[in-house]
Symmetry: C2
Subunit: 148 residues, 2 copies
Protein backbone atom coordinates (compact mmCIF):
# COMPACT_ATOMS: atom_id res chain seq x y z
CA UNK A 1 0.00 0.00 0.00
CA UNK A 2 1.31 3.44 -0.90
CA UNK A 3 2.58 5.92 1.66
CA UNK A 4 0.45 8.63 3.21
CA UNK A 5 0.84 11.79 1.15
CA UNK A 6 -1.17 14.42 3.01
CA UNK A 7 -1.04 14.16 6.79
CA UNK A 8 -3.09 16.51 8.93
CA UNK A 9 -2.28 16.96 12.61
CA UNK A 10 -4.90 18.40 14.93
CA UNK A 11 -3.21 20.60 17.51
CA UNK A 12 -5.03 22.13 20.47
CA UNK A 13 -1.94 23.38 22.37
CA UNK A 14 -2.79 21.16 25.32
CA UNK A 15 -0.03 19.14 26.99
CA UNK A 16 -1.11 16.29 24.74
CA UNK A 17 0.16 18.16 21.70
CA UNK A 18 3.77 17.29 22.47
CA UNK A 19 3.20 13.51 22.15
CA UNK A 20 0.99 14.02 19.12
CA UNK A 21 3.47 16.15 17.19
CA UNK A 22 6.42 13.88 18.00
CA UNK A 23 4.54 10.88 16.66
CA UNK A 24 3.39 12.88 13.63
CA UNK A 25 6.94 13.94 12.78
CA UNK A 26 8.10 10.31 12.89
CA UNK A 27 5.24 9.24 10.61
CA UNK A 28 5.88 12.11 8.19
CA UNK A 29 9.53 11.03 7.92
CA UNK A 30 8.51 7.40 7.36
CA UNK A 31 6.15 8.50 4.60
CA UNK A 32 8.57 11.05 3.15
CA UNK A 33 6.07 13.90 3.34
CA UNK A 34 5.49 17.17 5.17
CA UNK A 35 2.83 17.77 7.80
CA UNK A 36 -0.11 20.13 7.83
CA UNK A 37 -0.99 21.38 11.31
CA UNK A 38 -4.49 22.57 11.99
CA UNK A 39 -5.79 24.42 15.00
CA UNK A 40 -9.45 25.17 15.39
CA UNK A 41 -10.39 28.24 17.38
CA UNK A 42 -13.64 27.69 19.18
CA UNK A 43 -15.11 31.13 19.25
CA UNK A 44 -18.57 31.83 20.57
CA UNK A 45 -19.24 35.57 20.59
CA UNK A 46 -21.14 36.42 23.76
CA UNK A 47 -24.16 38.14 22.32
CA UNK A 48 -26.36 39.97 24.73
CA UNK A 49 -29.68 39.07 23.17
CA UNK A 50 -31.59 41.52 25.35
CA UNK A 51 -29.84 44.51 23.87
CA UNK A 52 -27.97 43.48 20.80
CA UNK A 53 -28.87 40.35 18.86
CA UNK A 54 -26.52 41.23 16.01
CA UNK A 55 -22.71 41.13 16.20
CA UNK A 56 -21.08 44.42 17.00
CA UNK A 57 -17.84 45.57 15.39
CA UNK A 58 -15.89 44.93 18.58
CA UNK A 59 -16.65 41.20 18.48
CA UNK A 60 -15.56 40.98 14.88
CA UNK A 61 -12.25 42.61 15.84
CA UNK A 62 -11.91 40.13 18.71
CA UNK A 63 -12.41 37.25 16.33
CA UNK A 64 -9.66 38.52 14.07
CA UNK A 65 -7.38 38.99 17.09
CA UNK A 66 -8.06 35.43 18.20
CA UNK A 67 -7.13 34.07 14.80
CA UNK A 68 -3.95 36.12 14.70
CA UNK A 69 -3.05 34.93 18.18
CA UNK A 70 -3.67 31.31 17.17
CA UNK A 71 -1.51 31.75 14.07
CA UNK A 72 1.31 33.08 16.22
CA UNK A 73 0.92 30.17 18.66
CA UNK A 74 1.00 27.66 15.80
CA UNK A 75 4.09 29.32 14.34
CA UNK A 76 5.87 29.15 17.71
CA UNK A 77 4.77 25.54 18.12
CA UNK A 78 6.28 24.61 14.75
CA UNK A 79 9.48 26.44 15.64
CA UNK A 80 9.64 24.62 18.98
CA UNK A 81 9.44 21.22 17.28
CA UNK A 82 11.67 22.22 14.38
CA UNK A 83 9.00 21.73 11.74
CA UNK A 84 9.01 25.17 10.17
CA UNK A 85 8.19 23.66 6.80
CA UNK A 86 4.85 22.36 8.07
CA UNK A 87 1.78 24.00 6.57
CA UNK A 88 -0.07 25.90 9.30
CA UNK A 89 -3.84 26.24 9.23
CA UNK A 90 -6.05 28.10 11.66
CA UNK A 91 -9.79 27.69 11.34
CA UNK A 92 -12.63 28.99 13.42
CA UNK A 93 -15.49 26.77 14.52
CA UNK A 94 -16.21 23.40 16.10
CA UNK A 95 -13.02 21.35 15.88
CA UNK A 96 -14.64 18.07 14.85
CA UNK A 97 -16.50 19.76 12.02
CA UNK A 98 -13.70 22.06 10.86
CA UNK A 99 -11.03 19.35 10.90
CA UNK A 100 -13.23 16.91 9.00
CA UNK A 101 -14.14 19.64 6.53
CA UNK A 102 -10.53 20.64 5.95
CA UNK A 103 -9.50 17.01 5.53
CA UNK A 104 -12.18 16.41 2.94
CA UNK A 105 -11.37 19.57 0.99
CA UNK A 106 -7.60 18.97 0.90
CA UNK A 107 -7.13 15.29 0.03
CA UNK A 108 -5.91 14.46 3.52
CA UNK A 109 -5.29 10.72 3.84
CA UNK A 110 -4.33 10.61 7.51
CA UNK A 111 -5.46 12.68 10.48
CA UNK A 112 -3.35 12.45 13.63
CA UNK A 113 -4.74 13.61 16.95
CA UNK A 114 -4.46 13.01 20.66
CA UNK A 115 -6.80 10.46 22.15
CA UNK A 116 -7.22 12.30 25.43
CA UNK A 117 -6.83 15.86 24.30
CA UNK A 118 -9.64 18.32 24.66
CA UNK A 119 -10.47 17.96 20.99
CA UNK A 120 -9.27 14.38 20.73
CA UNK A 121 -10.69 11.31 19.13
CA UNK A 122 -13.47 11.07 21.68
CA UNK A 123 -14.94 14.29 20.40
CA UNK A 124 -14.19 13.60 16.79
CA UNK A 125 -15.30 10.00 16.68
CA UNK A 126 -17.30 9.61 19.86
CA UNK A 127 -20.63 10.39 18.33
CA UNK A 128 -21.26 8.18 15.35
CA UNK A 129 -24.84 9.41 15.26
CA UNK A 130 -23.96 12.68 13.60
CA UNK A 131 -22.12 10.90 10.88
CA UNK A 132 -18.74 12.50 11.40
CA UNK A 133 -16.95 9.20 11.04
CA UNK A 134 -18.93 8.32 7.95
CA UNK A 135 -18.17 11.67 6.37
CA UNK A 136 -14.49 11.25 7.02
CA UNK A 137 -12.73 9.84 4.04
CA UNK A 138 -9.32 9.11 5.51
CA UNK A 139 -7.47 7.17 8.16
CA UNK A 140 -7.34 8.48 11.72
CA UNK A 141 -4.53 7.86 14.18
CA UNK A 142 -5.37 8.43 17.82
CA UNK A 143 -2.16 9.00 19.72
CA UNK A 144 -2.45 7.87 23.31
CA UNK A 145 -1.65 10.57 25.82
CA UNK A 146 -0.21 8.84 28.85
CA UNK A 147 -0.01 11.69 31.28
CA UNK A 148 -3.56 12.92 31.15
CA UNK B 1 9.95 9.46 18.66
CA UNK B 2 10.83 5.78 18.50
CA UNK B 3 9.21 3.35 16.11
CA UNK B 4 6.27 1.18 17.01
CA UNK B 5 7.56 -2.16 18.25
CA UNK B 6 4.44 -4.26 18.83
CA UNK B 7 1.64 -3.72 16.33
CA UNK B 8 -1.67 -5.51 16.75
CA UNK B 9 -4.08 -5.79 13.82
CA UNK B 10 -7.72 -6.58 14.50
CA UNK B 11 -9.05 -8.82 11.74
CA UNK B 12 -12.70 -9.77 11.40
CA UNK B 13 -12.49 -11.38 7.92
CA UNK B 14 -14.90 -8.80 6.52
CA UNK B 15 -14.15 -7.15 3.17
CA UNK B 16 -12.62 -4.35 5.21
CA UNK B 17 -9.81 -6.65 6.30
CA UNK B 18 -8.04 -6.32 2.97
CA UNK B 19 -7.50 -2.55 3.30
CA UNK B 20 -6.61 -2.93 6.96
CA UNK B 21 -3.94 -5.59 6.44
CA UNK B 22 -2.39 -3.79 3.47
CA UNK B 23 -1.99 -0.64 5.51
CA UNK B 24 -0.72 -2.66 8.48
CA UNK B 25 1.96 -4.36 6.36
CA UNK B 26 3.19 -0.97 5.11
CA UNK B 27 3.37 0.37 8.66
CA UNK B 28 5.16 -2.76 9.93
CA UNK B 29 7.79 -2.33 7.21
CA UNK B 30 8.20 1.36 8.05
CA UNK B 31 8.70 0.46 11.70
CA UNK B 32 10.86 -2.57 10.96
CA UNK B 33 8.71 -4.93 12.99
CA UNK B 34 6.38 -7.91 12.55
CA UNK B 35 2.62 -7.84 13.00
CA UNK B 36 0.39 -9.66 15.42
CA UNK B 37 -3.04 -10.46 14.00
CA UNK B 38 -5.92 -10.98 16.37
CA UNK B 39 -9.35 -12.34 15.62
CA UNK B 40 -12.01 -12.43 18.27
CA UNK B 41 -14.66 -15.13 17.96
CA UNK B 42 -17.94 -13.88 19.28
CA UNK B 43 -19.52 -17.04 20.62
CA UNK B 44 -22.79 -17.07 22.46
CA UNK B 45 -23.85 -20.64 23.22
CA UNK B 46 -27.62 -20.92 22.70
CA UNK B 47 -28.70 -22.26 26.06
CA UNK B 48 -32.23 -23.56 26.32
CA UNK B 49 -33.01 -22.25 29.76
CA UNK B 50 -36.25 -24.23 29.98
CA UNK B 51 -34.50 -27.56 29.92
CA UNK B 52 -30.82 -27.07 30.40
CA UNK B 53 -29.44 -23.96 32.05
CA UNK B 54 -25.91 -25.37 32.16
CA UNK B 55 -23.65 -25.85 29.13
CA UNK B 56 -23.76 -29.32 27.63
CA UNK B 57 -20.69 -31.09 26.27
CA UNK B 58 -21.81 -30.53 22.69
CA UNK B 59 -21.58 -26.76 23.03
CA UNK B 60 -18.12 -26.99 24.49
CA UNK B 61 -17.07 -29.05 21.48
CA UNK B 62 -18.65 -26.47 19.20
CA UNK B 63 -16.64 -23.73 20.89
CA UNK B 64 -13.40 -25.62 20.29
CA UNK B 65 -14.41 -26.20 16.68
CA UNK B 66 -15.09 -22.50 16.22
CA UNK B 67 -11.66 -21.61 17.56
CA UNK B 68 -9.97 -24.18 15.33
CA UNK B 69 -11.90 -22.86 12.34
CA UNK B 70 -10.89 -19.28 13.16
CA UNK B 71 -7.26 -20.35 13.50
CA UNK B 72 -7.40 -21.94 10.07
CA UNK B 73 -9.02 -18.81 8.59
CA UNK B 74 -6.35 -16.60 10.14
CA UNK B 75 -3.60 -18.87 8.81
CA UNK B 76 -5.08 -18.72 5.28
CA UNK B 77 -5.46 -14.97 5.59
CA UNK B 78 -1.77 -14.57 6.50
CA UNK B 79 -0.81 -16.84 3.62
CA UNK B 80 -2.98 -14.80 1.24
CA UNK B 81 -1.21 -11.57 2.18
CA UNK B 82 2.23 -13.15 2.37
CA UNK B 83 2.71 -12.44 6.07
CA UNK B 84 3.33 -15.95 7.32
CA UNK B 85 5.69 -14.60 9.97
CA UNK B 86 2.87 -12.68 11.63
CA UNK B 87 1.87 -13.88 15.08
CA UNK B 88 -1.68 -15.21 14.93
CA UNK B 89 -4.00 -14.91 17.90
CA UNK B 90 -7.56 -16.19 18.22
CA UNK B 91 -9.53 -15.18 21.28
CA UNK B 92 -13.12 -15.81 22.25
CA UNK B 93 -15.33 -13.05 23.58
CA UNK B 94 -16.43 -9.51 22.89
CA UNK B 95 -13.95 -8.03 20.39
CA UNK B 96 -13.60 -4.62 22.03
CA UNK B 97 -12.84 -6.20 25.38
CA UNK B 98 -10.62 -9.01 24.15
CA UNK B 99 -8.55 -6.81 21.84
CA UNK B 100 -8.02 -4.20 24.54
CA UNK B 101 -7.14 -6.92 27.04
CA UNK B 102 -4.65 -8.56 24.70
CA UNK B 103 -3.07 -5.20 23.87
CA UNK B 104 -2.62 -4.35 27.53
CA UNK B 105 -1.15 -7.77 28.38
CA UNK B 106 1.32 -7.81 25.50
CA UNK B 107 2.92 -4.36 25.38
CA UNK B 108 1.11 -3.46 22.18
CA UNK B 109 1.90 0.13 21.20
CA UNK B 110 -0.35 0.39 18.13
CA UNK B 111 -3.68 -1.23 17.28
CA UNK B 112 -4.76 -1.09 13.64
CA UNK B 113 -8.38 -1.74 12.70
CA UNK B 114 -10.98 -0.89 10.10
CA UNK B 115 -13.12 2.13 10.76
CA UNK B 116 -16.22 0.66 9.17
CA UNK B 117 -15.69 -3.02 9.84
CA UNK B 118 -18.12 -4.92 11.94
CA UNK B 119 -15.76 -4.74 14.90
CA UNK B 120 -14.17 -1.47 13.84
CA UNK B 121 -13.33 1.64 15.71
CA UNK B 122 -16.94 2.56 16.19
CA UNK B 123 -17.43 -0.49 18.36
CA UNK B 124 -14.08 -0.22 20.05
CA UNK B 125 -14.09 3.49 20.72
CA UNK B 126 -17.69 4.45 20.20
CA UNK B 127 -18.68 4.13 23.80
CA UNK B 128 -16.43 6.19 25.98
CA UNK B 129 -18.75 5.56 28.92
CA UNK B 130 -17.42 2.08 29.55
CA UNK B 131 -13.91 3.35 29.69
CA UNK B 132 -12.52 1.24 26.87
CA UNK B 133 -10.58 4.16 25.46
CA UNK B 134 -9.28 5.11 28.85
CA UNK B 135 -8.15 1.57 29.56
CA UNK B 136 -6.31 1.40 26.28
CA UNK B 137 -2.70 2.27 26.72
CA UNK B 138 -1.60 2.53 23.12
CA UNK B 139 -2.18 4.34 19.86
CA UNK B 140 -5.07 3.32 17.62
CA UNK B 141 -5.13 3.66 13.84
CA UNK B 142 -8.56 3.52 12.24
CA UNK B 143 -8.14 2.57 8.59
CA UNK B 144 -10.90 4.02 6.48
CA UNK B 145 -12.80 1.45 4.49
CA UNK B 146 -13.94 3.18 1.33
CA UNK B 147 -16.18 0.57 -0.17
CA UNK B 148 -18.50 -0.03 2.75
Amino acid sequence: MSNYKNILVAIDFSEASSSVIKRAVTIAQQNNTELTLIHSVEYLPPIDVAYEPALSASWIIDEKALIEQAKESLKSFCHQYNINNAKQIVVIGTPKYEITQYAGDNNIDLIIMGSHGRHGIELLLGSTANGVLHRMNCDVLAVKINDE
